[in-house]
């Protein structure tokens, strides 16, 4: 076996059987990070000592005959937007440089309880605002498929860590596509669970009505195992859904789409989608049909306005959420020389601590919420949000899942769109509707675009609490492709 290339479920079995120790697996990943991360820059912080100590505890548990969980002893990369007690947590921002959270996020508690080994914190666009990880205050992450290209965003660090074999599991967060688009452009798997399925306690908020924590891995089954480890009700999050978690692991093992009704969203393909993306998507549709699914075309007419509604709702919420970064109780403080008022110090601190994209979105949100503009901008966007949700509801009366390409293009070059916000926002055109409605969705790799040899993702969408459908359909497509290729697509990534 290969300690860094094997999937999480394989590693967990080997650890449980005593074929290898968690410490050996963890050290192999730390060595890999030391060897390649200077070029990839997936991690902002590596907690070697903590990871090895945690691995030793798992090995001791096993030696004592304790029963281990399905991912016990397997390493994971954690997006730097989740609070982890005693470890730096920056959300990719200078305003939180050096901040050490005094508590664990709910998801971190659950990872620890599942004996999953947290290797460190991964790079991201500042406060998760971006589609390329170029808006990190700590420099961009590089796509392991081509180091001159972006790994997607905002969770580019987590996706790149998987694709560079620095970790077999990762945690992301998805507000408008920040798990799915990075998965698509790195040939990895990522799921945005149903809104409210995974607790947000300890997640640094971007847009609270859209943010959702989710699992990332290199195959569908590993993603399902991680999903099961982090999902479920938590009373500390008032939007957490108090209902049983769908059995996503059974669905991933089932992998049968015979009789499943699949809706191809007319508005999410065609014009604006790269030719090779469209080609691989059309092939995935053919695979679903061959596997016995019934694919029909459905129309969601208001999706055309999703991007515009999202880029009003998100800035409005973030302008309010980010008001907490005022330099008074934690984080950066600038200009406090005794001569300045608290307001001046706040303004200087925020100017120095936030990057340009964060400032743009805060100002857009401030504008959209201000007197005289509220109805035309934020109010109207909320109404469009209702119409988009109704489009989904009507579509799911006809089909079990919806599909589209995850992103309109493959990974673009670092620097290409960094100062053109509207061009950057178009990356999220297919992923955003799901966040607005609170549905769940998966991205999984379906091939390389012929024109540039870069990965393409298939997006599968399901209604709220229908997360198991994603895994059933995703695992079926993955199995068919592995049959065809003889391996997962990620195996074709260039050696680093």
């Amino acid at each position: 076996m290969s300690l860094i290339r094997d999937n999480a479920s394989v590693l967990a079995s080997a650890i449980a059987e005593g074929e290898v120790s968690s410490e050996e697996v963890t050290r192999a990943h730390l060595d890999r990070i030391a060897a390649v991360d200077e070029r990839v820059h997936a991690f902002l912080h590596v907690d070697s000592d903590g990871a090895i100590a945690a691995a030793k505890r798992v090995d001791a548990k096993r030696a004592a005959g304790e029963k281990l969980g399905p991912l016990a002893g397997v390493p994971l990369a954690l997006k730097d937007v989740l609070a982890m007690k005693g470890q730096p947590t920056t959300a990719g921002s200078k305003i939180l440089e050096g901040w050490i959270p005094p508590y664990d996020a709910a998801v971190v508690e659950r990872l620890r309880a599942a004996d999953i080994i947290i290797l460190g914190k991964t790079n991201m666009d500042e406060f998760a605002m971006g589609s390329s990880t170029e808006h990190s205050a700590y420099g961009p992450t590089h796509n392991p498929w081509d180091l001159d290209r972006i790994p997607g965003g905002s969770g580019g660090g987590s996706a790149a860590a998987l694709a560079a074999f620095e970790a077999p599991l990762a945690i992301g967060t998805d507000t408008g596509g920040s798990i799915r688009q990075p998965a698509a452009v790195t040939a990895t798997v990522g799921v945005k669970p149903t809104y409210g399925a995974v607790p947000r306690y300890g997640l640094i908020a971007l847009a609270s009505s859209l943010d959702q924590v989710g699992p990332c891995a290199r195959n569908v089954l590993d993603t399902a195992l991680l999903h099961a480890a982090i999902a479920g009700h938590d009373a500390r999050d008032s939007t957490s859904i108090n209902a049983p978690v769908p059995d996503v692991v059974a669905a991933a093992l089932n992998a049968d789409v015979r009789g499943m009704k699949v809706g191809l969203v007319r508005e999410l393909s065609g014009a604006g989608y790269q030719a090779g993306v469209q080609q691989r998507f059309d092939e995935a549709v053919a695979i679903l049909t061959e596997l016995g699914a019934e694919v029909i075309e459905v129309s969601c007419p208001h999706f055309e306005y999703a991007l515009a509604a999202y880029y009003l709702i998100l800035p409005s919420e973030c302008s309010s959420n980010l008001a907490r970064f005022d330099g008074m109780r934690y984080g950066l403080r600038v200009g406090d020389d005794g001569s300045r008022s608290v307001e001046e110090v706040m303004a200087l601190t925020r100017e120095a601590g936030f990057g340009p994209e964060v400032k743009r979105r805060i100002m857009i949100g401030t504008y959209a919420l201000s007197s005289g503009y509220y109805d035309a901008y934020y109010g109207q966007a909320q109404k469009v949000r209702t119409l988009i949700t109704r489009d989904f509801t009507e579509a799911f009366e006809k089909v079990d899942v919806l599909i589209s390409p995850t992103a309109p293009t493959t990974a673009f070059k670092i620097g290409e769109k960094v100062d053109d916000p509207v061009a950057m926002y178009l990356n999220d055109i297919a992923t955003i509707p799901v966040n607005l409605a609170g549905n769940c969705a998966m991205s999984l790799p379906i091939g390389l675009a012929p024109e540039d040899g870069l990965p393409v993702g298939l997006q599968i969408m399901a209604p709220p609490m229908g997360d198991d459908r994603l895994y059933r359909a995703g695992a079926a497509v993955e199995a068919a492709l592995v049959d065809r290729w003889g391996h997962l697509l990620i195996e074709e990534a260039p050696a680093l």
Binding site: I100, P102, G196, Y305, R350, E351, V384
Partner: protein, 98 residues
């Protein structure tokens, strides 16, 4: 529909507590204008009688049993403070001197 001026950016920056330097106001004005023009498309949708949606799940007050339980201790809560005085967060003056 919109045209954001340099003065508008200065006003928004003041509301948002961002000390944007003078020499960057024009650049932000240009970018915010492009963004606002593209998102103004939401106005094309006829939605007068459509209810607004703030959240994907119903927002209800959630109560727990009124039982005392430990919170963060003072040392942990203050550990990341930029400035401390007498076990409290020290902040710049909040009132003018006169």
């Amino acid at each position: 529909m919109t045209s954001i001026s340099r003065a508008d950016v200065a006003h928004l920056a003041r509301l948002a507590r961002l000390a944007i330097p003078e020499d960057q106001l024009d650049h932000y004005a240009e970018q915010l204008d492009v963004i606002l023009q593209s998102v103004a498309r939401v106005g094309e949708v006829a939605a007068a009688d459509v209810p607004a949606m703030s959240h994907p799940v119903p927002l209800l007050n959630v109560f727990r049993e009124d039982i005392a339980r430990p919170g963060l201790d003072r040392e942990a809560a203050m550990a990341a403070a930029p400035a401390i005085e007498d076990d409290r967060f020290r902040v710049p003056r909040i009132l003018d001197e006169e």
